[in-house]
Symmetry: C2
Subunit: 545 residues, 2 copies
């Protein structure tokens, strides 16, 4: 069926070159530019009695960007910030990249030593500190040989007089020139942000986003979450968390209003929702739970599940609700909602692959593999960590380390993290599954299961359980034996008082639990050895009789 | 405030390279891939009794792509199609770029000669023809020295037995290999579509879109028009019109259903809306009017204004409704709705600039300039037309040729097209404004105003008017004199019977009217000259007396 002789003029479509009018590097900065034009007089930020319009925010961002450049902050330099969800923190999401620099928002729950480590790693050139965190920042700076230039952020709403470093944020804005802050993004692959992971299973890593990735993530997230024009967005999710899941840039894209609050407490949240007619908010399930518990009469149906990670600029999978699912029973609906779902639009592909062959696992809801992502919203890589970067990017995929299955309809469901799978006598045990059974016990409040070394089985499950009331280990063990396959039953149950050890973002410190489980295994082995010795000695004694 | 000595380590964030996992060329093809995964068993296309799922559509597109490649259609080759909104037309929007080729959908309202001109210009390698248009295609092919390879599309719903050319569409699908249709887009700047403008003021031009531009336009349009997941989209807007304003690709992105109909008549539209619970449709105001007139009891409020052009991949400005506007009176609301508005998200900038200095005009609602656009959704350029391309791209802008003002709030309002401004004795006359007054006359149904050459004033308005009932030119002139400034009053009013000449997309052929106005001017000048001569002769005769 070769028909090449049909064509007398095999000339191709001529190559039309790029120009400034038809090729503009993708960057979230354009969202601010647009908001300043389209929503000039609309409220951009509300914080206590302070209010800004988009025109004012644009002006202040340009001033700050020009001030940063006059401080010799130049292209690809890192600017760190330690602040809650205050207006300055929001503006830095535009002003720092507008100066050509890279924004590094630091988790405010970290201690001074960890803050110092993060400032040191990318050699931050400037460090903005909200007055609330001045004592911690002062301690952190003591660890550094060559400290960054420090700017303190004073809060008009709650002035304390506390200062640190050379300059004050409002003074920087005042000396900045609104006409000189225009920095043109020349290459959309340039870095815009540097976010450190909290490191549940390994050391924190510096995740780098490009302007392109941030732009595409924002558009696709707002499209899929159906955020209409002019949202009133309440900042409960910390902006330091994946740049607030790109909502920092997205609220500008939709010309909305940022409702900033310093403290994320139920009373404050309720006040803000009522006062500003809030339409959208994001928060971790614990915050949502906190709100719901405070007013049980106002419980709302939980929004759809989303799964994300810093490396994918926040959400990577969303549980898109299919029309037919509304007709399912409550139990089946809950089952559907528990799935992490399908890829966000900015990803070109999301799949579950065999961790050795990288072949896609069958869509049978049973075959486990590792979640792999591909697309322009995946991070550029880990900062100053070639090894971790090359380990994460294999065979055209970004490997998340998350163990999952794919259902017949293509929806992905997480079973475990790769490091959380317990391999006992060649059988894979899902720690999530064991935890599920444990939590089914009426007195169990929280349960976490990790692998414990075992000389015979290789590994075996070890359960850490927080209980209410009086319970003995044996009662929990019995519950397990009655509700799961024998090989899955934890060989050890540890009753923990006062909650499990957690990271600053509320994730359980599995590394710590693994250390404990190892020492338990060692102790038990020693005891066993001791017992064996005793038996042996007794046997020898008997034989001597 | 230079603090460069603060920094002992002026090292930049290391350059993290692109890889297949974090840099995927933007292309609408990924939307189909995603739909085949996420919405595999959902209905992709409904057409009469024919139904496809996304999995089937994906499979068929791959088959068609592989068949095209086995026909030696290769990268950047042009594949033309002449078809109504049938499933084959939809699938070609994916299958042709999947084969690496460029889709060229031809306006089905064009005559054979114009179809031939479009096939000839890009040297189309293949030409798909729906059975309905076989006679016209046959005529068109007669004009070509080296005709393309022809594929006829037979309609299962309305089989006629008509055939043209070497192959039949369904047979191509049958011989195609679903496993060999995977073409990887290597460069997002590569062309995806070639759309010819209808040419109201000049000859048709071939507008080329890139994969990147098409992808970004789709995302931003669907975000701003708030298209939720799973839309049921009725195809009333022709797909040949800017690729259906990117809805071809967008319906896949949102996992929706395409409701295809062959004939866009009210009865058919009502039937489809009822049968398939249609949630979205796009159509020209005339189609909307047709629907509304058919059932006056079902009149809905008109959707927001949008302004677009082929060169900007469809919509470029949208009238985003601001919250406060709901509280305005009906008259003020109508005024706001009449504005074209603000830029779509995929544009980096939209402005009104002075056509000479390219400076932005003041935001005063009075200063006129030309609408200029900049962004990645602007076309690559005009195919094989370096001159037109370089004229359109000036000073980092794409100049639309549209005359407009910017209001204080940044919203843009069109006043005229650049070529429609009439310059009379140094004064600018907006033809739109004169037309507005003409249409205010109770008996005027339609009015179009163009420039007529005038030896004294340079230009002067010439009005072409369609009226109902008995009216004389003088009555229209009097109405003008009473309702507009003297210099704006048309020097000539032409009463047209049976409607104004229109293009295939329903736009008035201004070029034709200008030719007529020129000949009127010439005739009048000759008559005047004749009259002058007569007077002169009479004067000579008198002086001889």
């Amino acid at each position: 069926m070769n028909l090449s002789n049909h064509f007398n003029h095999p000339k191709e479509v001529e190559n039309l070159p790029k120009c400034d009018a038809n090729y503009v590097p993708l960057s979230p900065i354009t969202f601010l530019h647009r908001a300043a034009t389209v929503n000039a007089d609309c409220t951009s930020i509300v914080y206590g009695d302070t209010r800004y319009t988009w025109k004012q925010t644009y002006d202040r961002c340009h001033r700050l960007a020009s001030a940063l450049r006059s401080l010799n902050i130049s292209k690809n330099n890192v600017v760190s910030v330690l602040a809650p969800n205050v207006p300055a923190m929001y503006k830095m999401h535009f002003a720092v990249p507008m100066a050509g620099a890279v924004l590094n928002p630091i988790n405010t729950l970290l201690d001074a030593k960890n803050v110092a480590a993060i400032l040191h790693h990318p050699e931050a050139k400037a460090f903005f500190v909200d007055h609330q965190f001045i004592p911690r920042a002062r301690d952190a700076l003591k660890h550094l040989v060559s400290p960054p230039f420090v700017v303190s952020i004073v809060d008009r709403e709650t002035p304390t007089g506390a200062r640190l470093g050379e300059l004050e944020y409002e003074r920087l804005i005042a000396v900045g020139d609104p006409m000189r802050g225009h920095f043109m993004v020349e290459e959309e692959w340039d870095p815009i942000a540097l976010n450190y992971t909290s490191g549940t299973t390994s050391a924190p890593k510096g995740v780098v986003y490009s302007h392109r990735g941030a732009y595409l993530s924002t558009l696709s997230l707002f499209l899929q979450w159906e955020v209409r024009a002019g949202p009133i967005y309440l900042w409960t999710l910390p902006m330091f968390h994946c740049n607030g899941w790109t909502f920092t840039w997205g609220v500008a894209a939709r010309g909305g209003t940022n409702v900033c609050i310093r403290v994320t407490k139920p009373a404050e949240i309720y006040r803000a929702i009522a006062a500003h007619a809030v339409t959208h908010m994001c928060c971790a399930p614990t915050v949502l739970g906190m709100i719901v518990e405070a007013r049980p009469d106002e419980r709302a149906p939980l929004p759809n599940t989303a799964y994300g990670l810093t490396e994918a600029t926040g959400p990577a999978l969303v549980c898109e609700w299919l029309e037919g699912w509304d007709r399912l029973g409550a139990r089946a609906r809950a089952k559907m909602k528990a799935r992490q779902g399908v890829s966000v639009l900015s990803l070109a592909d999301a799949s579950v692959v065999d961790p050795v062959t990288f072949a896609r696992v069958p869509r049978d809801g049973r075959s486990v593999g590792e979640i792999a992502l591909r697309g322009s919203s995946v991070m550029k890589g880990y900062y100053k960590d070639v090894e971790a970067t090359s380990k994460a990017f294999i065979d055209g995929w970004f490997l998340t380390g998350e163990v999952a299955v794919v259902h017949g309809d293509g929806y992905i469901e997480i079973k475990d993290r790769a490091k959380d799978v317990i391999i006992s006598g060649g059988e894979n045990i899902s720690s999530v599954e064991v935890e599920g059974v444990l939590c089914g016990h009426a007195k169990v409040v929280e349960a976490e299961v990790v692998a414990m070394p075992h000389k015979h089985w290789g590994e075996t499950p070890c359960a850490f359980v927080v209980v209410k009331g009086e319970v003995v280990e044996e009662e929990i063990m019995r519950h397990c034996r009655e509700n799961m396959a024998r090989f899955m039953v934890p060989k050890k149950v540890v009753l923990v008082k006062g909650g499990l050890p957690k990271t600053s973002t509320g994730k359980v410190r599995k590394l710590e639990l693994r250390v404990i489980s190892k020492s338990i295994a060692r102790e038990e082995e020693e005891e066993e050895e001791e017992a064996r010795k005793k038996i042996h000695e007794q046997a020898v004694a008997v034989s001597r009789l």
